[in-house]
Amino acid sequence: MLHNAKNNYISSNFFGVTQLENKTQNILNLSGKTSHNVIQNNQTMGATPKTDALRIILQNNSDLSSNVIDFGKDNNEILKSKFVEKTSNE
């Protein structure tokens, strides 16, 4: 499985997130050498107020810094704080 897509443009999609038992949908999963993709202006919404609708998986050991992920100012703040929290716990 080679996750090395590049220069793809993903915009204006709607991600509806639901939970099933203890499993929640991730909206994005980036890994491997995927690079220079732009993911912006997408909408995301959880099935309930408690559903985490901003679950993004960034695989360890991958340099994903060339990708652009932009879910708007407020959501970006949440994503940043999640990332900081995760890295400080590692």
Partner: protein, 253 residues
């Protein structure tokens, strides 16, 4: 003399544009084998002369015993109601394959179109959240496999395939729009250096994962899709020994 331009225009259009044919032109019954037979005749009588044909398939349920392999000169069109159903019952077989053809003459002649079809796989009608035996790699269980260049997939429902609803492999210039793709292992897969794909207006729902872009695929445009509730149990859990992608992702890239 005024009639000459009209005659010229008619002759030109007959050379350039597609000819519509109906399955009933080839068979009185309505079976999957009749479609295979019709495609075979069209290849012999029209594709060989580089004439484009749109094969219209009336409403009905057609069980395919082999994949429908279409060349660059054949398009398929079902009934607008969604009542034209092509069903694949076996576990490791494609529904439709758009052939790999890099001939400049053929690929510049226009787009293949697959429109208004419902294509169901072996898991059609099963609960998407139930446990599946993910140890079996049914890599041929694909609703539409796109290999050639310049294709349009429009207004189709694709449901219940064990590998991917639509798989684009090493292909360029594809428009995949306004389809309902559900209950597949992966909704849409772009792989093997696929590029210039425009994927828009689709609903990707209750698949194991909505969309997978990998293997050096680049410059694809994914917009205005609904990607929702892709928690189907057709993929392994993240920590599984199996290296396939994990379930529960909207977009894997």
């Amino acid at each position: 003399m005024r009639i000459l331009p009209t005659i010229f225009a008619f002759l030109l259009s007959s050379l350039l544009f597609s000819q519509k044919m109906n399955l009933t032109d080839f068979a009185h019954s309505k079976t999957g084998d009749d479609i295979l037979k019709a495609v075979s005749i069209i290849k012999r009588d029209y594709s060989a002369k580089k004439k484009r044909v749109v094969l219209e398939i009336p409403p009905g349920i057609y069980t395919l015993t082999q994949p429908l392999v279409l060349d660059k000169y054949i398009s398929l069109e079902g009934d607008e109601s969604g009542g034209t159903v092509l069903q694949v019952k076996v576990q490791n077989m494609e529904g439709i394959i758009l052939e790999n053809n890099r001939s400049e003459t053929d690929i510049n002649s226009g787009y293949n179109t697959i429109r208004n079809l419902t294509i169901t796989g072996p898991d059609f009608g099963k609960n998407p959240f139930e446990w599946k035996d993910t140890s079996k790699n049914n890599i041929r269980s694909i609703g539409i496999k796109i290999q050639g260049l310049r294709n349009r997939i429009e207004n189709c429902t694709i449901d219940g395939f064990l590998w991917s609803g639509i798989l684009v492999s090493g292909s360029y210039y594809n428009y995949i729009s306004n389809n309902f793709i559900k209950n597949n292992r992966i909704g849409i897969t772009l792989e093997n250096t696929s590029t210039s794909g425009f994927i828009s207006g689709n609903e990707l729902r209750i698949d194991g994962a909505g969309l997978l872009i990998h293997q050096n695929s680049y410059a694809n445009f994914i917009s205005n899709n609904m990607i929702e509730n892709n928690l189907g149990n057709m993929l392994n859990e993240p920590n599984s020994k199996d290296m396939t992608v994990s379930a529960g992702n909207g977009l894997i890239i």
